[in-house]
Subunit: 260 residues, 2 copies
C-alpha cells in the first residue's frame, strides 16, 4: 500500500450490500486506500451493541492494491473494533467513516443508531470519525446524490489532519431531487425530542398479541433553528459534532446535595 495515501476504514449498519456503503467506498477511494469492515446482515437500530455471547467471524470478500473488504458476522460496533484491533493490526486507519445510512440519524434517534456506533468506536480508538446518513430509508435510495457533500466533508477533515480530540461528526443529508436541491450545510445540535405512539399492537392469525415498533417523533421545539431537524426539513444538510461522554457535568453538585 502507498503509505502517502490515508487509510480509510468504512463500516455501516445496513450491511455490505446497500447503495449507501457502495457510494461511500467510491468516494473514499479518491482520497485514500480503503478498508471495509461491514456487517454481513442488516443491523439497523443496534446502537452500540456488542457481541458477548457468540463468537464473531470475519470473511474476506476482496483484497487488491489499496482495497480490502471484509464481511463481519457481528454488530456495527463489533465491525470497527475487530477491524482496528485485529484485521488492520499492521496499519491503523487515519479516518473512520460510516454509512451512507439509508435513513436519517437525527434528533434523539441517533441514540439507537448502529452507524453512530461505528464512529463512537473510531474516536474511542483515537481515530477521526465521520458518519453520513441520507433522508431516504428505502433499500433503493439513490445515495449518489450525496456525493458532492460527502466529498466536501472528507476533503476538509483530511486537509485539517483530523478533528478535535474526542469529537466525531454526525452528517445528515436531506432527500435531494430536482425540486429539492441541497441548499447548504449547517452545524447543528441534536434535537432532544421523543418518540410517541411507539408500538402497534396486532394479533397473530393463530391467536396471541405481538407489537411492532413504529411511532412519530415529537421535537422539543420545531422552531429552534439550532437543531438538525429544523434544517433538514428546509433542505439543508447538517453536521452535529458528537462525543461519547455521558456524564451530566452540570448536575454533579445538585446530585451531591440530593444524595450525600
Amino acid at each position: 500500500m502507498d503509505h502517502n495515501r490515508p487509510l480509510i476504514l468504512i463500516s455501516n449498519d445496513d450491511g455490505f450490500h446497500y447503495n449507501g456503503i457502495r457510494t461511500l467506498i467510491q468516494v473514499a477511494q479518491r482520497y485514500g486506500d480503503v478498508f471495509v469492515a461491514a456487517p454481513a446482515a442488516h443491523q439497523s437500530g443496534k446502537s452500540s451493541a456488542i457481541t458477548l455471547d457468540n463468537p464473531v467471524r470475519a470473511h474476506l470478500v476482496e483484497k487488491r492494491e489499496g482495497y480490502t473488504a471484509y464481511e463481519i458476522s457481528g454488530t456495527p460496533a463489533d465491525c470497527v473494533k475487530l477491524a482496528i484491533s485485529q484485521l488492520m493490526a499492521d496499519r491503523q486507519p487515519d479516518l473512520v467513516i460510516a454509512g451512507i445510512n439509508h435513513g436519517y440519524n437525527m434528533g434523539i434517534s441517533s441514540l439507537y443508531s448502529g452507524t453512530m456506533a461505528c464512529i463512537y468506536e473510531g474516536i474511542m480508538h483515537g481515530v477521526p470519525s465521520v458518519a453520513f446518513s441520507y433522508g431516504v430509508f428505502t433499500r433503493d435510495a439513490d445515495t449518489d446524490a450525496c456525493i458532492p457533500l460527502v466529498e466536501q466533508v472528507l476533503q476538509r477533515v483530511l486537509e485539517a489532519g483530523g478533528l478535535p480530540q474526542g469529537v466525531c461528526l454526525n452528517v445528515n443529508i436531506p432527500p435531494i431531487s430536482a425540486d429539492h436541491p441541497l441548499k447548504g450545510l449547517k452545524v447543528t445540535i441534536s434535537d432532544l425530542g421523543r418518540w410517541v405512539n411507539e408500538w402497534e399492537k396486532r394479533t397473530h392469525p393463530m391467536g396471541g398479541d405481538y407489537y411492532w415498533m413504529t411511532g412519530e417523533y415529537e421535537m422539543v421545539d420545531e422552531h429552534d433553528d439550532r437543531t438538525d431537524m429544523y434544517w433538514l426539513r428546509r433542505d439543508y444538510a447538517t453536521v452535529t459534532p458528537c462525543h461519547i461522554d455521558q456524564t451530566d457535568h452540570q448536575s454533579l453538585g445538585q446530585i451531591a446535595d440530593l444524595l450525600l
Copy 2:
C-alpha cells in the same frame, strides 16, 4: 392499586431470572407498587438497541395487588418502551429503576450497557430513572449486599420528588464483603478510557478462525479522583449523573470554522 404509593417500573439486561432484579424488586416493594418488564433472555452488551425487524411479545408472568410482572421478548430498551407506552398505559410510572446489574457499568463501558438503556428510555419518557450495578458479574452474585445503598438512593430520590430534568443516575456498587465493607458513596464522572486487546482469536476444530470479545480497560488517568473507577477500586459506591445529549456543544464553533 393504592395511588398514594408511587408506581415503580423495574427492568434490567440480565433477564428475569437473575438475583439482581430479584433484590431490586424486593427493595422497591417497600417504597411503592412494582411493575416489572424484563427481557426473557440475557441481553448484556445490547446498549440502546431496539427491535425493528421482528415483532416483540409480552408474557404476563404474575399479577396481584401492587405487583405486576412481564417477560418481554426484546431488548432492555424495548422493555421500558413497551411498558410505558402499552402495558402501563393506564398509569404511568413515577420512577424507572434498572438492575441490579451483575457487573459494573462504569467508565466508557456504560456505552454498551443495556441497563443504562433502560434509564435512558425512562428519562426520554419524562420519568426519573436510576440504574444500579454491582461489581460481581457472576450469575450467583449476592446482590443482597447492595440493599442498604439501594434503599438510601431510592429513598432520597422519592423524597426529593424526582431528579433534575433530563438527568438519570448510574449507581455502581463495589463487591462488598467482611474484608471490604462499603466505605461510602461518591458523586463521580465516568472515566473516558478505552478497551485494549479486545479480541481473542481462535480456530474452530473443523478449521476457520473466530473471535471472542474480551480485553482490558485502560483508564485515562488512574489517579483522577473525580472518576467512578477511582472510587470503586477504593470500596466506595459511585453515582454518576448521566444524560442522553450526544452533541458536543463546546466544539460547535470549531467545526463550523472547519467545514463551512
